[in-house]
Symmetry: C2
Subunit: 335 residues, 2 copies
Amino acid sequence: MRNPVLVEVLRGELVESRHHGAVAVADSGGATVFALGDVTQPVYPRSAVKAIQALPLIESGAADKFGFGDEELALACASHGGEPAHVEVASRMLARAGLDGAALECGAHWPLHQPSGQALARAGGTPSALHNNCSGKHAGFLCVACAAGIDHRGYVAASHTVQREVRSALESLTGVGLSEDQCGIDGCSIPTFGVPLTALALGFARFGTGHGLGEKRAKAAARLRAACAAQPYYVAGTGRFCTEIMTLFGARVLVKTGAEGVFCGALPEQGLGIALKCEDGATRAAEVAMAATIARFLPLSDDERAKLDRFLRKELRNWNGIAVGGLRPAVELLA
Amino acid sequence: MRNPVLVEVLRGELVESRHHGAVAVADSGGATVFALGDVTQPVYPRSAVKAIQALPLIESGAADKFGFGDEELALACASHGGEPAHVEVASRMLARAGLDGAALECGAHWPLHQPSGQALARAGGTPSALHNNCSGKHAGFLCVACAAGIDHRGYVAASHTVQREVRSALESLTGVGLSEDQCGIDGCSIPTFGVPLTALALGFARFGTGHGLGEKRAKAAARLRAACAAQPYYVAGTGRFCTEIMTLFGARVLVKTGAEGVFCGALPEQGLGIALKCEDGATRAAEVAMAATIARFLPLSDDERAKLDRFLRKELRNWNGIAVGGLRPAVELLA
């Protein structure tokens, strides 16, 4: 099955580029309420499932043991920009467990937030693993290991207790068995398993509502959702889609980006989960497709619709600030 | 007509992402010798036609008047990295015409070459229009205006004499009339016109051979080709595809990238021109598709084939340097 065009990129009067992809929306009972494209083949969810991967941090008691609040929990679900405040919270999480940035096994990269990278360079600095967009998630993994009193070294390996728990949470939420045959190594070195979009959408419908989860897990999911809604800056950062959308909608929308054009989300009040993948891996198109899916399924006031519109029909400007074109969702995505 | 998959992105055992697109290869007589996908609809060539856009710089006598050698001519054809040597040559070109960076109308952006951007930040600097990847092309435009004694201000406008000459060169090479109806504004603010890939491939077959061009134009094209072959560093920069491929093959291959997944090139000895577009705008896939097209049409020694292979089957490593997957061309692209 070929995936349809999800998003078009215009310049002047011409469609300059096109992004194909697939979208699944499911309810917590497992019914697929909307599907575009091939929603059954496995895709790597990458960072889009960080909120699910953070469940063991709460369920193990580690978050309580180390006194984590909304900032820490939001950062555990984050692909953050490496801004100073993000680095500070990641450091704080590690310090509570008696560790520092040297324990992180995610690798180092320059902050995704360009001004923060430039400030770091200006100060004569170089990036550390704390600047890695995944450092909050990894700090969470380390806290799980430390709270359980197990050796944290090698915590990124599929065979480590922490990754087994993370995998188990993902299997439980999505309802699919994760296979070693469909497993890749993520950018931050942990395993990423192939999961169909329908199953990811179901997982987020459950995560967003607690339906179909045990009481402890439902409470853990609710606590992570509340943390992201209260501190969306710590889930991404300045000017980033996830932060801006959750700032706009609060607890009504949970969204999380992943590398290679994956996006997951939940609309708790509607009882729906969303999972989509832009086939070519483009984040710009995945964001527009997510905005369009939200617009389709979330009741919006006129003011909210107007505010969402700038993500749905994103303007492109050139280096002189001249409007040269924009992105728009394909009609199939619109209601 | 739907475009086929040109390039697959693997992670572990799964194809994680797919890039669709179209490829045209033509000879200087206008025969399309190879086509994949929709090669007839207009695409914006963006920066992939900079070498053609530089023809007026030579033909007008401006390059001779200002004493330009290979470095200046290569930079006029470049999307450079904003490395110090690139900035220096752009400044030198402007100085010869009695101008400086303030005359550039391309806008400013941080150097594409990340270490150069970090060094600039470390020194407390901010980017100027000289760091814009198009500053060499724009310096060339300004030199055309100055040599002709016309007002250079507003040289980016479609109605300015310089852009009229640039447009005329592109129409002459590609054999198509460029239409205001299929015209966008490029990242650097000059017009970019929609041209079918078949016509772009013809244009590069002519540019690479001189066949079908008047003597003066054929000589100008040969001089620009020789400059790019002699100074490929000035066409792109450290570690960049265009620079590395032209360093490997010298005058046997001319390649030039453009924004939104466009790539043009010429194989002068084979009398062929190449034009391709990755439909979703991805440079990573356009590079693999160009490497595959070169491998298909250029006779290669075993050593050359081995060296080209790292562009054709590009390895992906994560932040810890672990090999996690790679890019590979679709079988339809291979011989």
